[in-house]
């Protein structure tokens, strides 16, 4: 028989590791260790160690931006972020991605204090590591993240997010209280690198940064994200130290694609199609380099968890 040599790429770099969640083991929680990849995703011949892909369950403390099928999947529990997050825990989520949308100054305008209490209540109840976002309004988010950061000192949150032009507040909130921070950039490898440089120049340790290069959903520019992510990961493995950080991909925008939620002639049952829409978006994220995948629908998480097992060759 002919021997086919395994064509390994000769990578010189690797992705740094990061730990999220309490490190002291109090309340029975354990930290989540991410990153460390030494090869392209799921190629065991490049990187024999099965790296962790963490699945984050999406939770919001107000319902304006929550897609209908996601609300339906959790029923009454969406009205209480603690209960919603508990549901995710029962379904096996590795961490929770909490959006404090109640603080939106154009809607509920909840106080930073109140939002931080919500975050603490979720933390205490579920005991899983937490990603925390504000509502996407710069000035308000700065106050919200500052308060959340203070109250959750020692919990090693992942704060979202810092971007070029508005990174100091999130970075400071993380640095002051030992949290990690998400560096967001808009579909561009150079911008992804730029935000890591800005954050580290500001004083954030590279081991405290996770990048979010913006995961465009299936049918809504997925090909751009797929290639940007892939280029980021390849550059990192080839030695670009500023890109050697774990990557988070939020796949919930899949629910904004019309083809995911509208009736399509011969398109099959809408809900099932929507679940696959989010799952396929997540698969593209996984194969292009994601270390954390944020998901909205519990069925999509079940599919993606099984996909991770399958890609590792586990039954």
């Amino acid at each position: 028989m002919v021997e086919v040599p395994v064509p390994k790429e000769k990578w010189t770099g690797s992705i740094g590791t990061i730990e999220l969640g309490r490190a002291d083991g109090r309340d029975g929680s354990r930290p989540l260790r991410l990153g460390g990849a030494r090869g392209l995703p799921f190629l065991s011949f490049e990187d024999p160690e099965a790296r962790t892909v963490a699945l984050a369950g999406w939770v919001a403390d107000s319902l304006e931006d929550v897609p209908r099928p996601v609300q339906d999947a959790f029923g009454e529990r969406v009205n209480d972020p603690v209960s919603w997050a508990m549901d995710w825990k029962e379904r096996g989520a590795d961490l929770i991605c909490l959006h404090l949308t109640s603080t939106n100054p154009e809607e509920g305008d909840a106080s930073p204090e109140r939002a931080a209490e919500t975050a603490m209540a979720v933390l205490r109840a579920v005991g899983l590591p937490l990603i925390v976002y504000g509502s996407g309004h710069g000035e308000k988010d700065a106050k919200v993240l500052e308060r959340v950061g203070e109250m959750a000192k020692g919990e090693r949150l992942l704060l979202g997010h810092a971007e070029e032009g508005a990174y100091k507040a999130a970075a400071a909130a993380a640095m002051a209280n030992g949290h990690a921070v998400i560096g967001f950039s808009n579909l561009d490898i150079n911008l992804a690198k730029q935000i890591v440089i800005l954050l580290t120049d500001f004083g954030v340790g590279r081991g405290d940064v996770v990048i979010d290069p913006l995961m465009a959903a299936l049918g809504m520019g997925l090909e751009y994200s797929y290639s940007v992510n892939e280029r980021i990961r390849i550059s990192a493995l080839a030695g670009d130290s500023m890109l050697q950080v774990p990557m988070v991909c939020d796949c919930t925008p899949a629910w904004k694609a019309r083809e995911a939620t509208d009736d399509v002639p011969n398109g099959g049952p809408t809900l099932e199609r929507g679940i696959w829409w989010e799952s396929v978006t997540a698969l593209a994220a996984l194969l292009s380099g994601a270390d954390i995948v944020v998901l909205g629908h519990p069925e999509a998480m079940a599919i993606v968890r099984d996909a991770v097992r399958g890609l590792r060759g586990e039954v």
């Binding site: 064509p7 904004k256 194969l287």
Partner: protein, 439 residues
């Protein structure tokens, strides 16, 4: 692929222009980019031709299944990563029909296969082939199925049968349609290669070990069959990803020469199958044959294929038209943006988020984003006005106001002159739209 200069050395250097390029060097550059064919040069010497043909042959053989307009071309790929240039031949999708099904079931299956057609950003998407599988053990039944399906569809066919005698009889029915034969394995290679050679049809080689697969390639080529497709028989997503990656990398990096062929994958039903399929669309699968393909999975997979196989240098464009958002009426304001898909999707999503009823006019900018289109002269007051007139926008929105992207605020005065509408400068970033519209 050799460089333009290496190619140029072998060209006649007459600069005759008969290849449609002004000089031999220009032609060489097109060849190096894969945009011209060697045959376009009428004065190439035999030595030059053979030297260039062997060195410029794509690392993965191109194999055609079917004939005419619907023929499916697989392989011919030159890249590992789509951002390096592009992937050329989108993963083909086939639905399996077995000969255990009765006539009525087969009819239902064919009707279902026909129904899986969608139109998206101006492209038709659907199933590309049908696979007919010999499972019954009754050769007459299989041949009956082949005849029936051949009459009932124009789609190219895959015949799946590992009994060379039965395959020979089945191929005889549809030989002129150039079906793909699945296939040859370690047991039947000699006879199956003979069947493929006699019929002049491409052949799939099956082995669940890449070394054995390479052995089969060597044997098939020795028998004179060159149009080959590889079935590495993965059992799970991991094997799908790793085997396809090793096959593709070996060929592109030229670390091993025996595996430079398109890849066939049989996709089991269920979730794991769908994960294997999505993995194979992204990572190097050429032809996926589905045991089952529910519609709710077909559309996401076809869109994934469309996304991944988009030429990174040619943006996807949406249809220039007037789009109603959030149920607008005659009093609702009018906005415009470009037909670059990413710009459109972003703006659309932000408009929907605002919950404010508006009309969105999409202007044809050949797929450029707002600022790029403006700089390139593809977004002008005249082109905006022409788009508004073509769609009847000014009749449907009677508010008399046009909200323009903040990036092109400097168009305001001329736009006002061209359209007669009052111009309101919107936010520079689409994300500012909800707030802007609500205030």
């Amino acid at each position: 692929m050799p460089t333009a200069i290496e190619i140029f050395k072998h060209l006649p250097k007459k600069n005759c222009g008969e290849c449609r390029y002004p000089t031999c060097l220009a032609f060489a550059m097109q060849l190096a980019n894969g945009k011209a064919k060697l045959d376009d040069c009428p004065h190439l010497s035999e030595e030059g031709r053979s030297a260039l043909a062997s060195s410029s042959a794509p690392p993965i053989r191109s194999v055609k299944v079917g004939v005419g307009k619907g023929a499916v071309e697989m392989g011919g790929e030159t890249e590992l990563y789509r951002h390096d240039k592009r992937f050329f031949h989108p993963t083909a999708f086939a639905l399996r029909v077995t000969d255990e099904r009765d006539e009525e079931e087969v009819d239902g299956r064919l009707a279902y296969a026909r129904s899986l057609r969608f139109e998206r950003v101006g492209q038709e998407m659907g199933l590309d082939l049908l696979e007919l599988e010999y499972r019954s053990g009754d050769p007459g039944r299989f041949i009956g199925l082949v005849r029936k399906v051949a009459d009932g569809t124009d789609l190219p066919l895959v015949l799946r049968c590992h009994d060379p005698a039965v395959m020979a009889a089945a191929v005889a029915e549809v030989r002129e349609r150039r079906p793909l034969l699945h296939g040859a394995d370690a047991v039947n290679l000699e006879q199956m290669a003979e069947v493929a050679k006699t019929a002049g049809c491409p052949l799939v080689l099956c082995a669940d070990d890449l070394g054995r697969l390479a052995d089969l390639v060597g044997m098939a080529r020795k028998k004179g069959v060159e149009d080959l497709v590889l079935d590495p028989m993965p059992a799970d997503p991991k094997e799908t990803l790793e085997r396809c990656t090793i096959i593709r990398r070996s060929a592109i990096r030229r670390t091993f020469r025996g595996l430079g062929y398109p890849i066939y994958l049989s996709i089991p039903e269920g979730r794991r199958g769908m994960v294997m399929a999505a993995t194979a669309v992204m990572k190097y699968g050429s032809l996926l044959v589905f045991e089952e393909l529910p519609a709710a999975q077909a559309l996401p997979l076809m869109v994934l294929r469309q996304n991944i196989y988009t030429d990174p240098q040619v943006p996807i464009q949406v249809r220039p038209d007037l789009y109603p958002v959030n149920g607008p009426g005659p009093d609702s304001p009018l906005l415009f943006t470009t037909n670059f898909s990413l710009t459109f999707f972003t703006v659309m999503s932000d408009l929907e988020k605002s919950k404010v009823p508006v009309w969105l006019q999409v202007v044809d900018t050949e797929g450029l984003s707002v600022l790029t289109a403006y700089s390139a002269g593809k977004l002008t007051p005249e082109s905006v006005n022409a788009a508004l007139q073509a769609s009847g926008a000014k009749e449907r929105s009677r508010a008399g106001v046009l909200i323009i992207p903040g990036m092109v605020a400097r168009m305001s005065v001329k736009l006002n002159e061209a359209t007669g509408l009052r111009i309101v400068v919107g936010p520079k970033e689409s994300s500012g739209l909800p707030r802007f519209l609500r205030s």
